[in-house]
């Protein structure tokens, strides 16, 4: 009976622990939730990104990159994405599709067409997370300091 009592106590504690896990999950600590929704921008304030702080392996998400009107001078905008981020995620698509993608060291430069100079532009990356653990994305205009964010991917 003493053993049974101990089991019951552990069970009670376990129930609260399970409740706590459910509540934390609702907040987004395990991915997709208010705690996880973040945004960041580069030091010059030209590139703004909406991303998720926490993600789960295999899940897909859309990274939204907003580019300020001042940064758009021609009919294209060159975006540079760091190589280690591209190793951690799989790029399923870019909207609008880039005119050109070229390798720059381990990084990739995407040349994305825009309709009109001096207008804000939004580029969306459809991504799928492949690697678990923490990784940092550096995305910015070519020749400028990029915007950075760090993402944690649960197994």
């Amino acid at each position: 009976m003493a053993w049974q009592r101990r089991t019951w106590t552990i069970q009670r504690v376990g129930w609260f622990a399970m409740g706590a896990v459910v509540l934390t999950a609702l907040s987004g600590v395990f991915g997709y939730g208010p705690v996880s929704w973040r945004h960041t921008s580069d030091p010059a304030g030209l590139v703004r990104m909406e991303y998720e702080r926490f993600q789960r392996q295999g899940s897909e998400f859309t990274l939204r990159v907003d580019i300020a009107p001042e940064a758009i001078t021609g009919d294209t905008v060159p975006l540079r994405v760091n190589g280690s981020f591209l190793e951690a995620v799989e790029v399923k698509g870019i909207v609008p599709g880039p005119q050109e993608a070229r390798s720059a060291g381990s990084d990739v430069e995407y040349v994305v067409p825009v309709a009109q100079a001096g207008q804000p532009a939004t580029i969306r990356f459809a991504l799928k997370l492949r690697e678990t653990g923490s990784h940092t994305a550096e995305i910015g205009l070519v020749g400028r300091e990029p915007a950075r964010f760090t993402q944690f991917v649960y197994p």
């Binding site: 552990i10 069970q11 376990g14 399970m18 409740g19 459910v22 789960r56 392996q57 649960y154 197994p155």
Partner: protein
């Protein structure tokens, strides 16, 4: 390597979680408990074999399902009305050897079902030997034999 670790993780995870959830949760299987068990199976499957590799995802789904089930069982144990609402009530279908045909029809139980349960549990051969037959919440038929029999 990955597959072994995943399977082992899921095994111990389920062991612990079901131990915490306790005896009550899935032993008295109502139809819904059975459905819940199936959903948990479904939630585990993609992690072991399929397309969604996230173990955390499956763990969260299972924890949530079992937690809701625990909360529901606590509510049920505190409120009779909620228990009736969620589980239903047992129904008497045979009283002192007399079939209550109308109830049996609505409960979709035939005379043969009653007699089978009677034979299996008490070796009863005739209807008159049954004092009560009850359709339980879990869907089984309980037979109470006549005291003389």
């Amino acid at each position: 390597m990955d597959s072994v670790l995943r399977a082992a993780f899921i095994y111990f995870f389920l062991l612990i979680v079901f131990r915490i959830a306790g005896r009550r949760t899935l032993s008295e299987m109502t139809t819904f408990d059975f459905v819940l068990l199936l959903i948990i199976g479904e939630a585990t499957e993609p992690v072991l074999l399929g397309d969604d590799p996230s173990v955390v995802h499956a763990a969260l789904v299972i924890i949530t399902l079992l937690f809701v089930n625990i909360v529901m069982s606590l509510i049920k144990s505190r409120s009779k009305t909620m228990e009736k609402l969620m589980d239903g009530v047992p129904t008497i279908i045979v009283e002192h050897g007399r079939l209550m045909q109308e109830r049996m029809n609505t409960a979709r139980v035939s005379r043969d079902d009653v007699m089978e349960a009677a034979r299996r549990m008490h070796g009863i051969e005739r209807l008159e030997q049954i004092k009560y037959a009850i359709v339980e919440v879990s869907g089984g038929i309980t037979i109470v034999p006549q005291a003389s029999a």
